[in-house]
């Protein structure tokens, strides 16, 4: 900058610090609540500083789980969430990169029909078609399985669309050159397109992992077997208890644990994430 405005710079920092504090506040309160005994949270006001129960609460949810969530240990639910989100992420990226490849790099009858068929699924969330979808999954015998948890959620066009947008920006010369070298479609895809898509794949990995991890209603419906319960669904169950009050300290300990994996992925991959998304958008 040519000019120097120390006051404005100080003001900027101030605003940003305020922004950070506001964003972090709910997370802080969650953490604080997870370190108190349960009765403290139900009578009077929630505390603002951590309490003495950190180890007890966390070891309780990690080892024994809580009755309110069907008594499934949090570790097991997190493992299920992890498998489900990875299946969704990998599955979605795999099927959509090849279908986008076909739609952009080939000319064939019904190409646009396929494109619109996929495209129409872009935005409609699973919640509004949940009962018929459940019926299909039940008919296929996929209830209570990792397949049932993940495959139906792979049916969405976001990833296909992003790959298509990216492929369209890849210079035509690359393909011309490849064809002169005698490279076939599979070789071109493997040796040229795939390496070029690395950042996009990384960005999608972040988005889809979070999408999968955060699913709530779907896992609730398709699982009746405790060994397939996922963490986000577990938290909701802890809050909605009949004829008694939620055990907030354990809910909050679980919520804190549930946030760790997706937050870790977002922060660790933030650079690639932004780059991948912006490039596609350009």
């Amino acid at each position: 900058m040519v000019e120097n405005r120390p006051w404005l710079t100080a003001f900027s920092h101030l605003v940003l610090i305020a922004g950070v504090l506001v964003t972090a506040f709910p997370i802080w309160i969650t953490f604080v609540a997870s370190t108190h005994p349960g009765e403290n949270l139900l009578a009077g006001q929630a505390p603002i500083w951590p309490g003495p129960m950190l180890w007890q609460n966390y070891s309780e949810v990690l080892s024994a789980g809580m009755g309110a969530a069907g008594g499934v240990p949090v570790g097991e639910m997190m493992w299920n969430s992890l498998i489900m989100s990875l299946m969704i992420t990998v599955g979605k990226i795999a099927i959509s990169i090849v279908s986008a490849y076909a739609i952009v790099y080939f000319k064939f009858p019904f190409r646009m029909t396929f494109f619109w068929l996929i495209f129409i699924t872009l935005m409609l969330p699973v919640e509004v078609r949940i009962l018929p979808t459940f019926q299909v999954v039940a008919d296929l015998g996929m209830l209570n399985s990792y397949w049932g948890l993940s495959v139906p959620l792979i049916a969405s066009a976001t990833a296909t669309f992003l790959f298509r947008q990216f492929f369209l920006t890849v210079p035509e010369e690359l393909l011309e050159a490849a064809r002169i070298d005698g490279a076939g479609p599979i070789k071109f895809f493997r040796d040229i397109l795939l390496p070029l898509s690395r950042t996009n794949i990384a960005a999608l990995f972040v988005i889809l992992f979070i999408f999968g991890w955060n699913q709530y209603l779907w896992p609730l419906l398709v699982t009746t077997d405790e060994s397939f319960y996922t963490i986000v669904m577990g938290i909701q169950r802890m809050v909605n208890v009949a004829d008694s009050e939620p055990q907030w300290h354990l809910v909050m300990a679980t919520a804190t644990l549930a946030m760790i994996p997706p937050v870790f992925i977002v922060i660790a991959m933030q650079r690639l994430f932004v780059k991948g998304l912006i490039e596609t958008e350009k």
Partner: protein, 293 residues
């Protein structure tokens, strides 16, 4: 927009699109067509008796004051959420862009709500704003405001807007910051030499240059507010009080899943699908145009 040069191969392209098409047909198109069929039926919850009622479900829907009110509620909620999450994120991004050396640090600190599940975010805000035990409700009361989102529709709307905005600021911030950093420094410096104040520079140079990012985010945020906020509402207000926060997506769920009014809920799904398809086409047209030049 299409590629000039393409491969030609008889079976390979079909093989490549097959997995996605199969999954889309089975888990999307088929259930959606079931919903379409269901929307002209009157059926009991267990599926033991059903009768064909033509468009009675739709007629009932549009004769229902509450369904029409749900449109207004959805508009208010989406506009408020989009406006606040965009403007706050833009403000923060502009500030971060000024102190470029520390921008990465701030970005890391602001980014994480994006990773929090809407259902979990809902639980957090429900806890903090709980009229009897919540810390924020307590603070508001200390300031002389009697917060009760269980009773006051306005409070409930504020609650879900705050929760939804909180979750979305980080995403918008990322894009705005990247957009700002892509603006050539020379342009801004030239304006600074001409004596334009920072505020003026923002409105005359920076903001117009950001407009593609802004438009993109606008669409993303509207879609987010329309559909992805389901978990937030489910965990906080459940559409209440007196349906003050019953947005369209939640109403489909609550009428169908909780109320077991399958036909009415399916009719709502059909309306929603139409809206989604329209939104998609609009967005698509825009993006196509932009890619072309």
């Amino acid at each position: 927009m299409e590629k000039r040069v393409t491969f030609s191969h008889k079976s390979l392209p079909y093989l490549l699109v097959a997995p996605q098409i199969v999954i889309t047909l089975i888990f999307f198109i088929w259930p959606a067509s079931q919903a379409l069929y269901q929307s002209v039926l009157l059926e009991d919850a267990f599926g033991l008796s059903r009768q064909f009622v033509w468009f009675q479900n739709f007629a009932q829907l549009f004769g229902d004051r509450l369904y029409l009110a749900s449109f207004t509620t959805t508009m208010v909620f989406s506009i408020a959420t989009t406006f606040f999450s965009l403007s706050i994120a833009l403000f923060l991004a502009v500030m971060a862009d000024r102190v470029i050396k520390s921008a990465t640090v701030y970005r890391t600190l602001i980014i994480w709500p994006y990773a929090v599940a809407p259902a979990v975010a809902g639980v957090l805000f429900f806890f903090m704003f709980n009229p009897s035990i919540g810390i924020l409700a307590y603070m508001l009361r200390a300031l002389g405001y009697d917060w009760n989102h269980e009773l006051n529709g306005g409070d409930a709307m504020i609650l879900i807007v705050v929760a939804a905005t909180w979750k979305q600021i980080s995403y918008n911030f990322l894009f705005f910051l990247a957009g700002l950093q892509a603006i050539p420094r020379s342009l801004i410096e030239a304006a600074a030499i001409d004596g334009a104040s920072p505020l003026k520079r923002f409105w005359t140079i920076i903001f117009p240059l950001l407009s593609p990012t802004t438009f993109f985010l606008l669409v993303v945020n509207v879609v987010y507010a329309f559909f992805d906020t389901f978990g937030i509402i489910h965990a906080t207000t459940e559409g209440g009080p007196a349906q003050a926060t019953n947005i369209l997506v939640y109403k489909v769920y609550s009428d169908g899943f909780i109320g077991l009014d399958l036909g009415g809920s399916a009719a709502q799904s059909v309306v929603l699908m139409t809206i989604v398809i329209a939104l998609t086409v609009v967005q698509f047209r825009y993006i196509e145009k932009k890619v072309e030049y």
